[in-house]
Symmetry: C2
Subunit: 221 residues, 2 copies
């Protein structure tokens, strides 16, 4: 059986879960409290990060390397387009969310509001929360600008770029940190992606200590 070692509110884990589900690759999800740095876990991934995928007796780490591998070994349905220019744009946007958005928004909001509590590292730093709340507005506006010209973030087809973005935003939505009223076009995009069968497992996530808010799994949010 394939296994994904993950944490429910890890956006990198969610990106891989979405790719696997879209490609109908079944996996058993194993929750990993990666900050406890369990010896077995470090043996699977010396980087000590989630997600880690165990598939066909191979153990793989790094969400982007895993998604590229899945794309090459399970090409249908495609999450990367065929032409080099659009593939570039998908990868640029995946990096935009996993690097820039993560640093400016996710680690600021989730890091302070969720991970401090889960890991027991004290109270949220309100300067970080404020900076994250400010930065997310700019990012939502950037998405609106892209979606004004394209059906999906990187072009006319749904790709890994949409999954990367939805992975971060769905984590933040679990703690009610996304203002969906800021842009109708971004809200419509999220409604489309939220209603895909691949999203179901993510909408069913429950994190102890953080009750799921009503709008989170509601397709009509």
């Amino acid at each position: 059986m394939n296994r994904l070692y993950h944490y429910p509110l890890s956006p990198f884990s969610r990106k891989v879960r979405l790719s696997l589900a879209e490609k109908r690759i079944e996996v058993e999800l194993v929750e990993e409290r990666y900050w406890e740095r369990d010896a077995d876990f470090l043996r699977r991934n010396p980087a000590g990060k989630v997600p880690v995928l165990k598939m066909n007796n191979r153990v793989m780490a790094d969400s982007t390397a895993i998604c590229e591998y899945l794309e090459e070994t399970h090409p249908t349905p495609a999450l990367l387009p065929k032409d080099a220019e659009t593939r570039y744009e998908v990868r640029r946007l995946v990096a935009w969310f996993d690097d820039k958005f993560n640093e400016e928004v996710t680690t600021k909001l989730m890091g302070e509001r969720v991970f401090r509590k889960v890991m027991g590292t004290g109270y949220p730093d309100s300067a970080n929360v404020k900076a994250g709340a400010k930065a997310i507005k700019y990012h939502l506006d950037y998405m609106a600008w892209l979606l004004d010209q394209r059906r999906w973030l990187a072009g006319n087809d749904m790709t890994l770029a949409d999954f990367a973005a939805a992975a971060h935003l769905s984590c933040l939505d679990y703690v009610s940190d996304v203002d969906w009223n800021r842009s109708e076009i971004v809200k419509d995009w999220y409604a489309k992606i939220k209603s895909r069968p691949a999203f179901r497992s993510i909408l069913a996530d429950q994190i102890s200590g953080f009750p799921q808010p009503g709008h989170y799994a509601d397709l009509d949010f």
Copy 2:
């Protein structure tokens, strides 16, 4: 003419410079003081980061997305192998250096020793310098462990993984932060990569305020 907006001591810029040079794609290098957030620069890359490549009237950002694009459009010589398993391993290692090594070592050492001075943001934080100096040992040992089993970091051929690693290590070597005596096998690997024609431009870098140390460009260091 192709142009690369870069900063000489940016490891992400160096990874792209190495790929371009190995593939014999000529570019004009334009030094970008990205922290000054010049309006023209932000128009080229709203993420505000280097490197940015202007090629055939396209403007591209994110070093990994750029390197994948170069691989697809200029496949010879190949910096990604053919089989999916080794391609995965290359990408995992590129992420290892650009994510983990960067966070644990490069930003700690370069960030404190070089960028504070260049950007005028005060004195180095000695706790960070200490943490970076400690972490690099572990990373050199990890490289030695890999190279004990393989000719190059990801397998028997030189790949983007070697360029990602050499990009970070060459920046650190410019400020004499790499102890090459720690592992003979890592030193041999660096000597091999340093002697490639693609490395020449990097060995010629001069950063004002930081005179190039004697061993830096010496192939017999």
